[in-house]
């Protein structure tokens, strides 16, 4: 081997060791990426397969096709997985089709292969579709006229534009569902559930090599969560009593401060705050705001305020901003006239949009609209300080960690993160890097809001004027 070849081989090996080689394109039989997060002490294996196409790919006039396909796959999957004591669940989003399997470790490999063949080969007969379609039609008839459903459609139209495919109802409507025949879901599956485009994440008591034997594709091992609390000096192994003198570890009568004190491991001082970069953070979903009122003779008003953010905004920071806005706007206990509120960060044309939605008494709608809109400016000018900021960040962290404590939520989250960001963030590190200043900076980066009011226009106007000083 020539010296030049030696250098080339050595360089490739070095790059491979550093994980810097460009990802190898997946073949038709391979997934785009396989993520493995071993949890040796876990008792169930969760595997999520995320395909990057959702209900916005439903054929025109056959809205609800992806939804029906999901229900068909779940029902057939439940039947086929019975002997593996496993469960299947499918979520259909605007731009994703997420299949999640939960299986005991002894049978997960067989269960995964069952799901794989189900997703790739299942072609339902009309007799299999009919009962599912009829049951769904019954639900749609029951829900017909529900104002919250109409509000959700109006909100998506506000965000995406009224003619955008993603603004159509994910569950379809009576006309479109009646028009779906067995060939429809099969065609959707053939056209959109491509193995080479899917990201798979497997979490649980499995090893990387065990996954490699079952799931084909380039793999990345995601390390299990670290312990962030440093132990005091003693390190017991599996034992019936502590080594050494037990009294040195535990004195039941001693006050708390006399015991060995755990210490928290924090990110290094050099870690920069999680923030939105100024100027070069990319385009936004829109550059000018608007306000629209949809007049409906209802006893409640639904309000939605949506702010566009630069494309490169850290998603976790926006999630925290949304939670902070919720805490600023909604008092505990709730004020009269307030019924419910929710905050979500959605993707619009590849950029993030923070959406605050609330349900209120129509007579107070004007006041709540003002409060929601003003809240963003308030956080930008004067974000929670000191203990208020610290406690808010802890609440955010706990909600996130507890939600991701189940293996199926974790696998779904890993697959989504990788598919949309290209990596899986270190939550511990990123949450510590959220500072008061970066929160204020995120709020200041909000673009002009789009506002939707859905309710009795005359009543909102009458009482809105009375509220005006």
């Amino acid at each position: 081997m020539s010296p030049r070849l030696h250098i080339a081989v050595a360089s490739i090996l070095l790059l491979a060791l550093c994980g810097l080689l460009p990802p190898r394109p997946a073949t038709a039989q391979e997934y785009r990426q396989v993520l493995v997060q071993p949890d040796p002490g876990g008792v169930m294996v969760a595997a999520s397969l995320r395909f990057p196409m959702g209900h916005e790919a439903d054929p025109a006039g056959q809205e609800g096709t992806a939804f029906l396909l999901a229900r068909l796959l779940e029902r057939e999957g439940e039947r086929r997985l019975r002997e593996e004591f496993s469960r299947i669940h499918i979520d259909v989003g605007r731009g994703e089709f997420l299949v999640t399997l939960l299986a005991p470790r002894e049978t997960w490999a067989d269960a995964f292969r069952t799901v794989e063949s189900l997703v790739q080969e299942y072609a339902p007969a009309e007799s299999e579709l009919a009962p599912i379609r009829d049951a769904h039609l019954e639900r749609l008839i029951f829900q017909a006229g529900a104002p919250v459903r109409e509000f959700e459609i109006e909100r998506m139209r506000m965000l995406l534009g009224s003619s955008a495919p993603g603004a159509r109802p994910s569950v379809g409507n009576r006309g479109s569902i009646q028009g779906v025949q067995a060939g429809g879901p099969t065609a959707f599956r053939n056209d959109h559930l491509m193995r080479s485009e899917a990201v798979v994440a497997v979490v649980g008591p499995i090893t990387d090599s065990e996954v490699a034997a079952v799931v084909q594709g380039p793999r990345t091992e995601v390390p299990p969560p670290r312990s962030f609390v440093e132990a005091p000096p003693l390190q017991p192994g599996r034992s019936d009593t502590l080594p050494g003198d037990p009294d040195s570890v535990q004195r039941p009568n001693a006050p708390p401060e006399t015991g060995p004190r755990p210490r928290l491991r924090l990110p290094s001082a050099e870690a920069s705050p999680l923030a939105i970069a100024g100027g070069e953070a990319g385009p936004r979903a829109w550059t000018s705001g608007e306000r629209s009122v949809v007049d409906r003779n209802l006893t409640s008003t639904w309000i939605s305020v949506a702010w566009p953010f630069p494309a490169q905004s850290p998603r976790l920071l926006l999630d925290f901003l949304g939670r902070t806005l919720h805490e600023v706007v909604v008092s505990d206990p709730p004020e009269p006239g307030f019924y419910a509120a929710e905050v979500a960060v959605l993707e619009v044309e590849g950029t993030p949009v923070l959406v605050f939605s609330a349900t209120v008494d129509p007579r107070t709608a004007s006041r709540w609209e003002g409060r929601i809109v003003d809240a963003m400016g308030a956080v930008a000018d004067s974000p929670p300080a000191g203990a208020f900021f610290e406690l808010g960040r802890r609440r955010f962290r706990n909600a996130l960690f507890l939600d991701l404590s189940t293996p199926e939520n974790r696998s779904a989250w890993l697959a989504r993160q990788y598919a949309t960001r290209g990596d899986t963030p270190d939550l511990h590190d990123q949450i510590w890097r959220i500072s008061r200043e970066s929160l204020a900076g995120a709020a200041a980066a909000a673009g002009p809001p789009r506002i939707l009011l859905f309710g009795p226009a005359a009543m909102m106007e009458e009482y809105g004027e009375r509220d005006t000083p």
């Binding site: 002490g41 008792v43 969560p225 670290r226 962030f228 132990a231 009593t241 535990q250 802890r394």
Partner: protein, 383 residues
């Protein structure tokens, strides 16, 4: 699922027993940086102070929630047949807060919150007594375990328990040496143990001696009964067995598969000093004969419908159910802790799962046959 395939899932990674202090079982698992700490304190109640555990629970829960709601962690306190259970769940980085919540929860009861606890306990009991199934269950339990306190209390004891009685029950039970701690999460168990230092009462302090109130035996209201309700209870001896679990599931399955003109159910009951297999049902006159015949001949029916395939399916379902519960850190802590409290070993769930992988149709048949030789305890409610 073949028995040889099953891996031990519920065996603690570490067990630490501290002389004069709590015993801790640690499971190093979890998909995130979350930790769950479950502390159980055995609490036996005398019939004259029945329901006293509820007073402690009510106050503890409010105090813990006051801490955990500030940081978005979870906390709960509940009463099992043997113990009071304090549980917190949150990020490992918030360990100090979680321990603070536990300290708040396990602190002595306060007289100021006593009346609120009484009102809640009375409401729960009244709601139960308003329903035929609640009244029937309470009567059956009294007959099954005479002399044992009803953990929900009675109308008489709930009216008369005073703050001093609650304090006395707390003081005699809340001692460090009595505590069993289950920790689930990626954290060094000694860190938790060290943080728990000083939790509970001084072990040498005498518990206050206060004569319990006399149960006046008064009862408020009675359920409106429009069907005939019957219940048959078969007392079970010894530890929880795989055969009993499989048999109960088999019987429930038979009811689902072949329903009649009546309502029927099968339950496994745990109470402080025993357990029982209970069949119950309700029927209008037209279905009464069929229901009675079904319930009295239920054991024979179950034995005739039993084969290896069915037992294999049932054990697989039970194992999966255990694992579905244990897949979350709080589910794992509760499953292990409950079995530990009931049977005295932190390995109990693992033992039971192991037994489930080996149980066969003949074992379940033997269990059912033994019950057939016992006269069940019977209770009924008539319109």
């Amino acid at each position: 699922m073949a028995s040889s395939d099953v891996v031990q899932d519920f065996r603690p990674d570490t067990i630490i027993r501290v002389p004069g202090g709590p015993t801790l079982a640690h499971f190093e698992t979890g998909a995130t940086e979350a930790v769950v700490i479950r502390v159980s304190i055995p609490l036996a109640e005398s019939p004259d102070e029945a329901g006293v555990g509820h007073f402690i629970r009510h106050q503890a829960e409010a105090r813990m929630l006051n801490v955990t709601s500030r940081i978005g962690a979870r906390s709960e306190v509940h009463r099992t047949s043997t113990s009071l259970v304090y549980q917190v769940a949150g990020a490992t980085q918030d360990l100090d807060f979680l321990i603070w919540a536990l300290r708040e929860g396990m602190a002595p009861p306060e007289a100021g919150r006593h009346e609120a606890a009484r009102r809640e306990a009375q409401l729960v009991l009244d709601r139960r007594l308003e329903t035929p199934e609640g009244t029937l269950a309470l009567r059956l339990r009294r007959t099954l375990a005479p002399g044992e306190a009803s953990l929900q209390g009675t109308t008489g004891t709930l009216d008369r328990l005073q703050a001093g009685h609650v304090m006395a029950a707390w003081a005699r039970s809340h001692r460090p040496s009595e505590a069993r701690v289950v920790v689930v999460g990626r954290i060094e168990p000694v860190v938790v143990l060290a943080s728990l230092t000083g939790l509970g009462l001084d072990p040498d302090a005498p518990a206050p001696q206060i004569a319990p109130p006399q149960d006046s035996g008064e009862s408020r209201g009675a359920p409106e009964v429009i069907r005939r309700w019957v219940a048959y209870a078969y007392p079970l001896d010894g530890t929880r067995t795989a055969s009993a679990l499989v048999a109960a599931r088999h019987l429930s399955g038979l009811i689902r598969e072949q329903q009649g003109d009546y309502e029927a159910s099968v339950e496994l009951w745990d109470f402080p000093r025993g357990r029982a297999l209970v069949f119950s049902g309700a029927a209008y006159p037209r279905g009464l004969q069929a229901m009675t015949a079904r319930l009295t001949g239920f054991l024979e029916e179950a034995m005739s419908e039993l084969d290896e395939d069915r037992v294999s399916t049932l054990t697989g379902e039970l194992l999966t159910e255990f694992r579905m519960t244990g897949r979350t850190p709080w589910g794992m802590a509760e499953l292990v802790g409950q079995a530990w409290d009931a049977e005295g070993s932190p390995d109990e769930v693992d033992r039971l799962m192991d037994e489930l992988t080996q149980v066969g149709a003949e074992d379940v048949r033997t269990f059912l046959a033994a019950l057939r030789g016992v006269s069940p305890i019977q209770e009924e409610l008539r319109p």
